[in-house]
């Protein structure tokens, strides 16, 4: 009986440890700190409420040529 219980614990650990590690990794990926390269403003969130502000920022730089690039992060 004792032996069986030890095996069960080991099996549980084998399953639980990767799940916990994966959850921690996922949380880090989603909520971990991000740093932009030196000289750039912090990453801004673009959503329905900030879209007009994005357009305005684009227009404020009318004295320069502008590049827009849209990419997937992976």
């Amino acid at each position: 009986m004792k032996k069986q219980s030890r095996w069960r614990k080991a099996a549980l650990a084998l399953v639980a440890v990767p799940i916990v590690l994966a959850a921690l990794w996922l949380a880090w990926m989603k909520y971990g700190p991000r740093r932009v390269p030196a000289g750039q403003p912090d990453v801004a969130t673009l959503d329905a409420s900030s879209l007009q502000s994005f357009r305005d920022t684009f227009s404020e730089h009318r004295d320069e040529d502008r590049i827009l690039v849209m990419l997937s992060p992976t």
Partner: protein
């Protein structure tokens, strides 16, 4: 990712050009479960760039709306036939000249292309013209 690196190379070549770069990251692939990491953000390290995370792809939707509302305004040619409400604008680059404003609809670019990595030659030409102005 190769597109971001290729863009950074082109920016490095034109380090003195007065330029503003709007980098919009958006989830498209199944692996895009989170905003860009520090490493990803570092791919475009030019100080003329500002980076955005567009989790809901509102910019893509807005561009598609503008294209469908006034197709004759944009130099997209046959590509427009493939644009519908489900279209996601991504791996896309566009160059806009000085003077244009972004009011309701995206302004008309002097150059645009996709995928980004294969559009860098065109971008370089556009930037070369810009530096002669």
């Amino acid at each position: 990712m190769r597109g971001a690196s290729a863009l950074q190379e082109a920016l490095t070549e034109k380090a003195k050009l007065p330029l503003r770069v709007f980098v919009v990251w958006e989830p498209v692939l199944v692996t895009d479960i989170a905003p860009p990491t520090t490493r990803t953000l570092g791919l475009i390290h030019d100080s003329r760039a500002a980076q955005y995370w567009d989790r809901e792809r509102v910019l893509s939707e807005d561009i598609v709306r503008a294209l469908r509302a006034d197709p004759s305004r944009y130099p997209v040619g046959d590509e427009l036939e493939k644009v519908d409400e489900e279209t996601i604008v991504w791996d896309f680059i566009a160059l806009f000249p000085r003077g244009v404003l972004w009011e309701r609809d995206i302004p008309v670019p002097v150059f645009h292309g996709f995928p980004v990595v294969r559009s860098i030659a065109g971008l370089r030409q556009g930037l070369a013209s810009a530096s002669q102005r």
